[in-house]
Subunit: 209 residues, 2 copies
Amino acid sequence: MPIDIATAHAFEGSRQDRRRARTRAELLAAAKRLLASKGFHATKIADIAAAADVGTGTFYLYFPTKEALFSDLVKETALRAKEEMDRAKEPVADPRAKARVAIETFFRFADRNRDVFKILFGHSAQFDELLREVHQVFIADVEENQASGVAAGAFKPFRPAIVGQAIVGMLSQVTSWWLERDDISIEEITDTVHRLLQDGIAVKENPHE
Amino acid sequence: MPIDIATAHAFEGSRQDRRRARTRAELLAAAKRLLASKGFHATKIADIAAAADVGTGTFYLYFPTKEALFSDLVKETALRAKEEMDRAKEPVADPRAKARVAIETFFRFADRNRDVFKILFGHSAQFDELLREVHQVFIADVEENQASGVAAGAFKPFRPAIVGQAIVGMLSQVTSWWLERDDISIEEITDTVHRLLQDGIAVKENPHE
DNA sequence: CATAGTTCTGAACGGTAATTCAGTTCTGAA
DNA sequence: TTCAGAACTGAATTACCGTTCAGAACTATG
C-alpha cells in the first residue's frame, strides 16, 4: 500500500500531517530570520509568508496572531536556555564555579540559537539604529579608557571592544532599572557599579589577614 | 513704551518670540514625559499636543515629524551627557580615577535627566514587557547565585538586585553584539565576561611579586 | 474520473494614527 | 478700532498593516 511506504519512515501522521508540519516549520524559520534581523515592527506578516513561499492568509492557518508567534518563540527559547543552564549548574557546588558554568552554558546556547537570541537580547526595532548610535558614543569612550588603562598597566588586557559593550550594557540595564525606583541612593548605585567593574564580585581566595 | 516693559527682562526676542518658545518648550516637556513613560509607539502626537494643551496640528508648527522630535531629544541629551563626562574626566590622569569620575558623572546626569534617560536607556516599547519578563528569568537566577555566594563568603556583599541587573545587562549587550560578528571565539567571549565579572578590570595596585 | 475534504490564496476590510490644510482666533502696530 | 500676519485648530486625508474570507487549487479515496 502506498500509504505504508509513504509513512514508513515518518515518526507520526499521514502525508497531509507532514505537509502541514513542513509548512509550519517553514513559516517559523522565516519568522525567526526576519524578526531577528529587522525587529518586530519592521517584520510584516506578508514578509514572513512570502519568505516561507506561501500566501499571506496561510500564516493564519498556523498561528493565531503575529504577537502569539513572537511571544511563543521568545518564551520557549528562554525557558530552554534556563533549563539547560540549570542542568549544567546542578552538580556544581561552589558559587564561583556555578557562575562560570552558567556563563559558559549561556554563550553556548546563544551560539546554537542565534536567531532567537538576537530577538531576545538584541536591539533591532525601529529606533534601535538611533539608540545604538547614541550608545556608541558611550561605548567609544569606554573603549578608549580601557585601551589607555591597559597601556598604563592599570587595567587587565581585555579587548577594549568587549569591555566597551560589557560596561555600557551593564550601565544601560542598571540605569533603566534604577531610574524607576527611589529606594537606592545615587551613592550606592555608583559605588556598586564602580567596584563591580574595578574588582568584580569575587572575594579573594586567601585574604592574608 | 509697552514694548520696552514687555521685553525688559527677556533675554531676547519679542513677546511673540517668547510665546512661541514657551509653546515649543511645553510640547517638548510633554513629549519627554510621555515618551519616557509609555515608549515611542504608544505615545500619540495627539497625546503630546493634548498634554501641552494645544491642538494636534500645532505640534507640526514646531517639529517636522514625530521621529524628528524623538531623534533630537535623544541625540541632544546624549551629547550633553558625553560633554559633561568629558569635562569631568579632563583634569584626571589615572585611568582608574577617570573611570570612577565617569561613572559618578554618568549617574548624576541620569538623575538630573530622568525622563530622557528612560528613553535613552530604558525598555518601554510594545514588547518590552515580554522581553523584560524573559530577562527576569535570568536576573532571578543571578540574584540567587549572588545571594548564596555572599552567604558562602565567596562573593562581596553587593545587593543581589543590583548585581542581577548589572550582569544580565552586560550579558545582553555583549551577546547581541557578539552574535553579529564571527571574529571572536566563544572561548574568548566567555572567558572575558567571566573574568570581568569575577575580578573586574583593575590590575592589583601592588602585586607582591 | 468524481468529489469531499483539506490547504492555500490574496484582494478586501477595518482600525489606527501620522500628517495636512482650510479656516478660526489671537496679537499688536497703525 | 482696524487689519495683516502669526499662531492655532481639529476634522479630513492618507498610509499602513493585521486580520478575514470567499473562493481556487490540491489531494486522496471510491
